[in-house]
Structure formats: C-alpha cells, structure tokens
C-alpha cells in the first residue's frame, strides 16, 4: 500500500455520522445538566457537577476520536487479535484486583480515573471478530468457524458475567445481528425469537393452573411448538397431508384430555399427553427422515426436541440460575407482580417522568420527576427520562430520530465497504449501538426488564462515552480509507 495515496481523513470522513455523534453528545451533556441540576448549584460548567465532568469527558472523547482518525487504518486490522488478547487479560486482571462496588467487580482504579474494561471489550471483540471473519477462505457455516466465533464472543461475556455485570455481558448477544447479515441462516434468528417466546410464555403463565393439574404456561408453549411445526411442514415441505393427519389425530385427543380433566372424571397433567404426542410425532418424523432420506424432517424433529428440552429447562434456569432480583424484575415486567415501591419503582417513576412530559415537555430544567430524584440512576441508565419529561414527545422523538438516522447511515456506510473487514466491523458497531438503544430505551419505557446498560452518548460516564467513541471512530477511520483497498 502506498502511503502517498492515503487521503487526509477529513476529506473522506463521513461528516454525517460525526454530526449525529456530536449532536447526541451535546444532548447528553444538556440532559445530564438537567438531570443533576441542583437548585442550589446551578452552574453548567462547574467541574464538581456531573454535567461539567461529562463535558470534559466529551472534549477528551473528541481528542481520542481525532487521534483514532489519524492512525493508519491498517493498524486496526493488524493489531486486532493482540488488542483482543490484551483486553481479555485486563478483564481477567480486573476480576482479580477490582474492589467490590455495589456487588460488581468491574471497575479498575487507575489512580486519577476509574475505567470499566468491560466497555473496552466491546470494540476489541468487534475488531477480532471482523478480522477472523474477513480472513481468506473463511466459511461461516463450517463447524470450526462457528466454534471460533462462539469462543471469541463467549470468552469476554463469561468473564464479564463473573464480574457481576450481567447487563454488559448481554450486549455481546448483539453480534447475532452482524452474524445474520454475514450469512448466518435466518432460521437461527427465528429460533432465537422462538426461544424468547417460549421463555416469556412459560414464565408468565407458569403459575396459572388449569383444573389443579395442568400448568398453563408449558401448555401454551407446547401448543406453540405444535403450531410452528405444522407451519414449517407447510412452508418448507408443502406436506399438507401430514399436517392434516397430525391435526386430526392430535386435536381430538387434546380436547378429550381437557374434557376428562374439566369434568373431574380423572385428574392428570394434560401437558404429559401433549409431550407424549409431540415425542410420537418426532419419532414419526425421524422415521420419515431415515426411510425417505429427507434431511428437513430430521431438522424439524431436532427443532421439536430442542424446544421441549428448552421448555423444561426454563423453569430450572429461572428459579435456580437467575438471581432473585433479576427474577423479580422479569416478573414485574410480565405483569405478574405489582411492586411500585420495590423492583417496579424505577420503571414506574420513569414512566411517570416521561408520561408527564406531554407533547412539548415541561421545558428545560423544569422537570420535577428527574430533578427531584424520583427517578433513580437518572443521569446514567435512565437519562432518557429527562429528555422525555423536559422536552416531551417532540424531544424524545427527535432523539429517537437521531439514533435511527445514525444506524441507517452506519448500515449504508458498512454496505459500501469493499473490504469485508471494514464491513463486518461496521455491522458490529451498528449491532452494539442498536442493542444498547433497544434495551435501554425499552427499559425506560417499561417494555424491557431493568437491565443496567447505558444509552450511547447520552448516559453520564467517561468509560462508556469513550468506549462508544472508540467503537464508532475506528469505523469512521476504516470508512475514510475505503477507496484504499483493492
């Protein structure tokens, strides 16, 4: 590569993304000023105030951004694995030396500043994944590739879980979006949706009993499995005869089983009947697969078996693996528990804050919910409340619009890369940022369980702002150099 061909970065830089980035950061500073506004100390640039500090961190983030843009874009490709390994080491080190802060061992005290290595793991993992997947002759569908991708993602995730930062660990699930774009079969994404549906249904209705014998949650999941199976048989095999047969045989049995229980002739768990019927169906499908040598039937039977296995491990996972406060948060979200002063308090106050904003909001610095500390974590995880309360629907929609514009622009940029490394990395950036926004705003709006992850560029905190900046600006650097490749 010829050095003299390198365009100065400011000429090839995508100023749209930079503009959106700066706008979001400014909105962030103002919102933090609003959120932590104290009637007795009204100074914006007061460095003792959170808004003042955030402003300093924003300036430093810009410096970091410029620095990243001035680097040779090849550096990122070349150093990606070393960086990944280094960050993994730091993560492990943190696990050992970090002191306990509110139950989490994720902060590394560097004397003048504390940083959270988990934040840095996001972009280093993204770089390593991109490097791996862009390597010559890489085939996503090979078992070896799947294992390598899995390890790259799961390793930092595991360490971060051990640091008790479950929220940050969840972020690594976002890479599924990138993998989907890069050729992961869509069925897997569908399967993921199914799993979430199974989980929600079985937990939400798990405590509702029919005729004192049958739990409603598993029953709904089993019925759903059956419906999906029939749907797939029709979609992929056009096997109407089989579907008709399954429905005509199993539906009457199911109805009779329900009636027998309902009339009190004989009490047994209807779900056992359903499971038995599904297993018999699976056996039939396997038989068909072996005799007719049709792999789809094999996959379908695997899907059903996997679904049943997942269903019966859900309860176990929910009761034994999740921590009690996570369990309560999920139950509150699913409307199973009403707990306005406990786990539901945050979300309740957050909804009040946003709901009271109305169309135009209460005006800058006039929010009472956020200003008077009714919303907890109001300048970090719940920063969007301040926007909702003080700027109303107009302001919130504006911020949502900024994010949407950023994501669509990033997808456009990623797609225009000729170098797969840059493209994959671009999708990693979109995936991570989108996951944060999706979960954070979903939580603030009461649509998601309370998972403590920051809202990119808006939430207070140097660590997260810098890590998002690094994530984004590396991609901007790669994009600025897109013409240099091949």
């Amino acid at each position: 590569m010829n050095r003299t061909d390198v365009t100065p970065f400011w000429k090839a830089l995508d100023w749209w993304v930079v503009g959106l980035y700066v706008l979001l950061c400014v909105v962030g500073c103002l919102s933090i000023y609003g959120a932590s506004f104290d009637f007795e100390h009204p100074g914006f640039f007061d460095l003792d105030q959170r808004s003042g500090k955030q402003f300093v961190w924003f300036i430093l983030a810009l410096v970091i951004g410029v620095f990243l843009l001035m680097m040779d874009s090849n550096t990122y490709y070349n150093w990606s694995f070393i960086l990944y390994a280094g960050i993994i080491l730091i993560l492990l080190l943190t696990l050992v030396v970090a002191t306990d802060v509110k139950g989490s061992r994720s902060w590394l005290n560097m004397g003048f500043v504390s940083i959270q290595p988990a934040e840095l793991a996001k972009f280093s993992t993204a770089l390593a994944l991109s490097r791996l997947m862009s390597s010559y002759n890489f085939q996503l569908r090979q078992t070896k590739s799947v294992l390598m991708i899995g390890s790259l993602i799961l390793l930092p995730m595991l360490i971060i879980v051990l640091q008790k930062e479950t929220g940050s660990a969840l972020v690594f699930a976002a890479f599924i979006l990138m993998l989907f774009r890069e050729g992961m079969p869509g069925v897997l994404l569908f399967l993921l949706v199914c799993l979430v549906a199974y989980f929600v249904l079985s937990i939400r209705f798990g405590e509702d009993l029919l005729f004192q014998t049958t739990s409603l949650g598993p029953m709904l999941v089993l019925l759903l499995i059956f419906i999906i199976l029939c749907g797939m048989l029709i979609t992929y095999r056009k096997d109407y005869a089989l579907v008709k047969g399954l429905v005509f045989i199993q539906l009457p049995i199911f109805v009779v089983a329900l009636l027998v229980n309902a009339l009190g002739w004989f009490a047994f768990d209807v779900n056992d009947v359903l499971v038995t019927m599904l297993i018999l169906t699976v056996l039939f499908l396997l038989f068909k697969a072996l005799v007719l040598r049709m792999m789809p039937y094999f996959y379908l039977s695997l899907f059903v078996l996997f679904s049943i296995a997942f269903l019966y491990s859900t309860d176990y996972a929910f009761d034994k693996i999740l921590e009690p406060h996570h369990r309560v948060r999920i139950q509150v979200l699913l409307g199973m528990k009403d707990d306005p002063s406990g786990a539901g308090y945050n979300v309740n106050q957050s909804k009040i804050a946003i709901g009271s904003g109305g169309l135009f909001g209460k005006g800058f610095l006039n929010g009472t919910q956020t200003k008077l500390k009714y919303v907890p974590e109001q300048d970090t995880d719940f920063i969007f409340c301040t926007v909702g309360e003080e700027q109303g629907l107009m302001g919130s929609a504006f911020v949502l619009g900024l994010y949407l514009a950023l994501f669509l622009r990033l997808i456009y940029l990623a797609e225009r890369q000729r170098n797969p490394f840059a493209r994959i990395y671009g999708y990693c950036v979109v995936s991570i940022l989108f996951f944060h926004v999706f979960v954070n705003i979903g939580m603030v709006l009461g649509l998601m369980p309370v998972i403590g992850i920051p809202l990119p560029f808006l939430s207070y905190g140097g660590s997260s702002l810098w890590s998002f900046t690094i994530l984004l600006f590396i991609f901007l650097r790669l994009d600025a150099d897109r013409t240099q490749y091949r």
Binding site: S356, L372, G388, E389, A397, L400, L404, L445
Partner: protein, 617 residues
C-alpha cells in the same frame, strides 16, 4: 450474484427490524405522553408539596366598634429529625420549659408512626405546641444553637375582656366528623365549636392559601415552584361586628355574679341583641391555649351546668310575663275588649271548689289594670271563654287558633337566633291534649293554667325577651341576632325582615298601658328610673325543686323604645326582689350610659347577693 442478493435481503431485514423497533418505541412514547393524563397527576403529586398558609380568623367588634375578639400569635416548636445535631438537651429543655423526661417522651412520640402517621425524618414535625410569646422570645434568641428545631407561628383567639363567653362560643381542633363533613378541614385545623364562632365559621375562617413548594424523593423541600407564581395567598376571615354593647354586657355579667339565670337585651327596632348573658359564665380565654383541655374538663364538671346556654337552652313556664300575649290573642279574637271588666275574689273559680288563686286588688278591673296587677282571674276567664266559645265550633279549633297566635309572637319554635343549639319551648296544640285526655276529654277548664303562663306552656328566656321587644314594636319583631354586620358579606335576610304577629297594633296600647301601670304602681315599681318611662311585667316560674325563678321583662322608653330587656334569675323568688332592680340598673346603664350614684346601693345589694349558695339546702 446469489450471495449478493442474499446480503441485500438481509440488510433490508435488519433495517426493517431497526425501523420497526423505533416505530414501536415511538408509539409507546405517544401512548405515555399524549394519551394518558394520569402520569402528569402522579408527577405533580410526587413533586409538589402544597404547604398550607393559614388565614387569620375574622375579628369581632362590639356594636360601638371596640375590639372584642382578636388573634394572638402562638408558637409551635417543630423538629426535623434528620437535621438534629449536637443538641444541648439540658439547655434546650430549660429554654422551652419542659422536663428532660418530657423531652424524651416527645421525641419518641414524634417518631412513632402510629401516633404521628405523617412522620418523615426530612420534614418538620410538631414537637411542642402553643408556646407562649415569652417563651418564644427566649427560644428565638437561642434557636440557632438547636439544629433541626424550628418554630411555626399560628394564631389563637384572644379576648379584650373576659365576657360574652356563651354568645361568642369557642374554637377547637376539628374532629373526624368535621373532616368528613367539610373537605376544607384537615386534621390539626381549628373550627368554631359553639356560639357565633360556630354559626359564622364559614365567614370567620377565611380561605387557606397554598404555597407550592418542590419536594424531592425524600420529602425534603427544595425551594418554591415557579418563583411562587402558582402560590395562592390566604384570604383572611371576615370581621364581625356584634350587636352586643360591651359595657352593658360586662355590667350585666357583673350583676349576675353568684347567680344563675339569663339576661337578654334586644334593640326592638332591629332585633339586635344588646346583651346576652348566661350565668354562671366563664372567661372565654380559658378555652384557648395549652390548658384548654384541663379547663374544659373543670368547667364541664361544674354542678352549675356552665356550658348550658341558658337564654336559648333553658325552658321554663313563662308565668305572668305570658299574660300580655294572652291578652293580645283575646283582643284580636274579640273575646274581650280593653274595657271588658272581670271580677276577681282572690282568684278564679273554674269549677266548683277549684280556683286559680289571686292576690288582693281592686275588683272588677278592665284590661290595663288587670295586667298591671297581674290578675290571674282576668286571663283565666278570657282564656276559658275563648276555648269554649261556640264560634269556633270545637275546642280543637279554638286551641289551634290560639296556638297559631302564640307561634306568631315567637313562642313554640326556635326563633332562629345566630347561636346554635336553640331550644324550642312549647306551645301545646289540640293534638297534644287529645293525646293526653282523648278528643272529647278536655275543655277550657282542663287547660286553664296555660292562661297564666303555666301548665304546659314553656318558653326560653330569649322567646320572652323577643316577645317583650314585640310589644315595644307594637306588633312585629325582627328575629333576634348577635351579629350586626359582616365585613364584606350581606347579613342573612332573616335578620332584616319584620315578622308580623297577626295582632293589630292598636291592641298593643292597652297592654303597654298595663305594663306602664305595673311600673308606676304595680308589681314592678322597683324598676323606676327618674326621667325614663318604663313598661314592665314581672313573672314567676314555679320551681318544684326549690325557690321559684324570678322573671322580669321590660322595655324603655315607652315611646320609641330603645331596649327590651329580660332578666331571668333562677331561684330568685318573687320577681321584684332581684330581677326588677337588676333590670332597672341595666336600663339606666344602657340609656344613660351610667348609674346614678344615688342608686349605687342597689348595685351593691345585687353584687352581694349570692343565690347559688341559697340553693344548696
């Protein structure tokens, strides 16, 4: 190409996924922010602390404009637990004048959520209430040393003179019933509990104001909202001008010392009460402040029924003071004429061997002298004639006719004075006797005692006074009332309207002549004041339990009367003994504004009289 096409499809799926999420969130935002008002209400009730600003209660003046009832600041000591720091407890206790164990007791009472349900360690809580101004003065100087303690001022009723307790009534902390009845009140508020304070509560109390303050999640006040633009100032209560004449009232209460009874003085033209005494009385200041509960209990336990509002709550047979009313009905009905003479031989025989006794006087007499001498026979004869008169067809019609006249003259029902809990007295009707004797079982003779204000007839002292005022007006009265004027508010129209009695004015002249005669040379001679023409009528309410009650009603001057007065002394015996001289002094006091030195012996005699002890045998 296939690869490329697949990528494009997946890119689009991702974009739609992202756009889908944003659309979902936007819809959620709209449902929260536009289609649900509830959240704004929640947010406001979260954040706005509406601190009540108490209005000052309306003042009361007497008819001549001198201040009678006002407000004095009292101070509550408040404590904010969170802020208490390095307290010198011994010094503090000394300053506010409490013992150390009381201090500890109060502190734990404040923190006890059962006793103090609104407790928060961040907001001021009442620690001691109603500190005196003197204690407050000392505390004020040292307050900076007691971190966490503050003082809130409230106002308490104060009285220029310890008089008119039964007319003014008192104020007390609201109870659960008041709060349920009227949303204006919250626990800890004060409201009128009796007397004028109760009747005029709604104008006296004013309107509470609100200061909108911001409160954080801990309940700590963080400042005023919107620079106080949403505050509502308190509207002070309306001042009242009472109809009472403070000097007359005070003098009447002085004369009534050591006696039980009532004095009611009315200005006939207006129905305004010039004096309103229930004896024994008490200092209204006793029912204010920290010792209120103790004083209240002591007064309540008194054997003299101090809280009985005698002018409106005691029912007695009006005795001879009822005779003028009787005469008026008979005249209006044409049963007698002023010239009608009735003979009296020491009484009236209504059946062989049965008579209503009378005393020695000339006989026969026409109406005016009959009133002057209070001849029982005259009125018994008239009453019986009316009851048994054929023109009515039956005694029932006659009886009810008679009752209607009496009600028209203000007897038998509460008059509607602006003091609560007024009793009605009793004027029986035909049904009443039908129940006792059966429809055919009674005749005029059966109920003959009514003729002379005994039997079943009962009246409150106020009703008798009002009747006297009606005579003075020659046929009408205005409902007696204590409040002459409300600052900025129209007075109840009932206190301006003339109530006609249904008896022609002309018929009042012989009555007035008779009452004038009673003063000149009849039973009420003792009331005479040189230079003033007085009309009066004595009476005696029989009391089976002890000495009779003495009653005297009078008005003066005879032409253009300025005052109608009733003096009612329980166990006062014959009217002339105590009631008549007392009335004389009061008339003189009111009309001449002073009592002649030559009459001070009367005053002295009355002051020395202790009729409460007499009763104790």
């Amino acid at each position: 190409m296939q690869q490329n096409f697949d990528s494009m499809r997946k890119k689009n799926i991702l974009m739609f996924l992202i756009i889908g999420v944003f659309v979902l969130y936007l819809i959620r935002l709209m449902s929260l922010q536009l289609f649900n008002d509830q959240y704004r209400v929640y947010a406001d009730s979260n954040a706005f602390y509406q601190r009540t600003v108490y209005p000052s209660r309306g003042l009361m003046y007497d008819r001549n404009g001198s201040l009678l009832v006002y407000n004095q600041p009292a101070y509550d000591v408040l404590v904010t637990m969170r802020e208490v720091e390095d307290l010198d407890t011994v010094d503090f206790c000394q300053t506010v004048g409490i013992r150390r164990d009381v201090f500890d007791q109060q502190m734990s009472a404040v923190k006890n959520r059962r006793l103090n349900p609104g407790y928060s360690s961040y907001t001021p809580q009442v620690f001691l209430s109603q500190l005196s101004s003197e204690t407050y003065g000392v505390l004020q100087e040292k307050l900076f040393r007691y971190k966490g303690f503050s003082v809130r001022s409230r106002t308490l009723r104060s009285y220029m003179q310890p008089i008119a307790a039964h007319a003014l009534g008192y104020v007390a902390e609201v109870n659960q019933k008041d709060i349920e009845r009227d949303p204006y009140y919250v626990p800890g508020d004060y409201s009128g509990r009796s007397g004028v304070e109760l009747t005029y509560e709604s104008v006296l109390r004013g309107e509470k104001g609100v200061e909108v303050l911001l409160r954080d999640a801990h309940g700590r006040v963080k400042g005023r909202y919107d620079e106080g633009k949403r505050d509502q100032p308190a509207v002070p209560g309306h001042d009242l001008t009472l109809s009472l004449d403070m000097e007359l009232q005070a003098y009447a209460e002085l004369l009534m010392q050591n006696k039980r009874g009532a004095i009611v003085a009315i200005e006939p033209q207006t129905g305004e009460l010039l004096a309103y005494v229930s004896a024994p009385t008490y200092d209204p200041g006793l029912l204010v402040g920290r010792n209120r509960a103790n004083n209240f209990r002591t007064l309540e336990r008194s054997p003299h029924k101090i809280f009985l509002n005698r002018p409106i709550q005691s029912n007695y047979p009006p005795g001879s003071t009822f005779k003028p009313a009787q005469a008026l009905v008979l005249l209006q009905e044409g049963i007698i004429r002023p010239e009608t003479q009735v003979s009296c031989q020491m009484g009236y025989y209504y059946a062989p061997g049965h008579k209503v006794g009378c005393h020695a006087h000339a006989s026969p007499l026409p109406l005016a002298p009959a009133i002057a001498t209070s001849c029982n026979a005259y009125f018994c004869h008239g009453y019986r004639t009316m009851m048994d008169h054929s023109k009515y067809g039956s005694i029932h019609v006659a009886m009810d006719k008679w009752r209607d006249y009496m009600v028209g003259m203000g007897f038998g029902y509460p008059l509607g004075i602006d003091i609560p809990f007024e009793k009605r007295g009793l004027i029986p009707n035909s049904q009443y006797y039908n129940k006792w004797y059966g429809e055919k079982g009674w005749r005029g003779a059966t109920i003959i005692s009514n003729a002379i204000g005994q039997g079943e007839v009962l009246a409150t002292p106020l009703q008798i006074a009002n009747f006297c005022s009606t005579i003075a007006n020659r046929g009408w009265f205005i409902t007696p009332h204590l409040v002459k004027q409300i600052e900025g508010v129209e007075l109840n129209s009932a206190y301006k309207r003339r109530n006609q009695t249904g008896v022609d004015a002309a018929y009042f002249e012989p009555i007035i002549e008779g009452m004038h005669g009673a003063v000149l040379n009849g039973t009420a001679r003792g009331v005479q004041i040189p230079g003033i023409e007085i009309c009066g009528k004595t009476g005696t309410a029989q009391n089976s339990a002890g000495e009779d009650h003495s009653i005297f009603m009078c008005f003066a001057p005879k032409e253009n009367p300025k005052i109608a007065l009733l003096v009612f002394i329980e166990n006062g015996g014959y009217g002339a003994t105590w009631a008549v001289p007392m009335a004389s002094l009061l008339l003189e006091k009111y009309l001449n504004r002073r009592v002649e030195d030559t009459r001070l012996w009367m005053e002295q005699r009355l002051l020395n009289a202790n009729l409460i002890e007499l009763e104790s045998y």
